[in-house]
Subunit: 139 residues, 2 copies
Amino acid sequence: MERIEDCISFVIGKAAQQIARRAREKLAVHGVTPIQYAILKVLGQQDGQSGAELGARLVMDSATMTGVIDRLQASGLLERQADADDRRIQRLFVTEQGRLLQKPMDAAMDQLNDEVTRNLGEQGEVFWHALRRLGENRG
Amino acid sequence: MERIEDCISFVIGKAAQQIARRAREKLAVHGVTPIQYAILKVLGQQDGQSGAELGARLVMDSATMTGVIDRLQASGLLERQADADDRRIQRLFVTEQGRLLQKPMDAAMDQLNDEVTRNLGEQGEVFWHALRRLGENRG
DNA sequence: GACTAATGACTCGTATACAAGATATATGGA
DNA sequence: TCCATATATCTTGTATACGAGTCATTAGTC
């Protein structure tokens, strides 16, 4: 490998960085970050999941999860509620205020998806397939 | 977009995260991180570049650059040297110790490239093309 | 030469990401 | 019941990443 631009770790990192930047811009008007959006989305579809369940779905470790949940709670978009049966577990619930953001946030991310997909054209399908494969750590 | 797994920002972020994890593991034995490797590689091919020049090549802002350079210097892999003509500029030089790491680090990253490319098979070409396009912020 | 704009490096605050470890709680078996 | 193990969460320390702003220096213009 002669150039750093031929290093897969570098190139995919920078590509993800550019996409993340655009996602941040689109979500900033709603006061949330991309990962906060992800948590609100998953939780909005099934309330009451624990941090561990969310972490498994979103591939986040518990240390990161604690911090993100702290900030979402501080923003009033989500609440912790101790589980009655297992007191180790904090179940998470989207607040009214959090639910109001769901549709506009989804619209913003749909828009980003469209922009990227349109630009990639026919290569889009192959690209998605490869990305999922890598994300699942099979590549 | 129904599922968070259909969100391009989320999926490319997680794919990059997995690749970065594997790159970190391979580089950890040499005591460097992926971004530190990138700086040492670019600088090793042309010594004496400034932080601004490196930042343009590696798409890093100056705040991040300062921190990474600090740690590389603390590790003894790189040195700062004030420019004689323009005293705003700090020129960067790889140390002897830094040069010794070049080949083994490159070998580790070549290995990662091979693993990923082999796994993607025929889709590799399309995937690389799409990644570069996105990294250049044209998609 | 003096003034203004631009530039390079740095600092500070915030947000992921992760390793390692601490704490509280739950579970299984002796 | 007691104990070892496992689990969920949280804490701490380190490393990117970026917005915003500071400071010194340089470049451009009059």
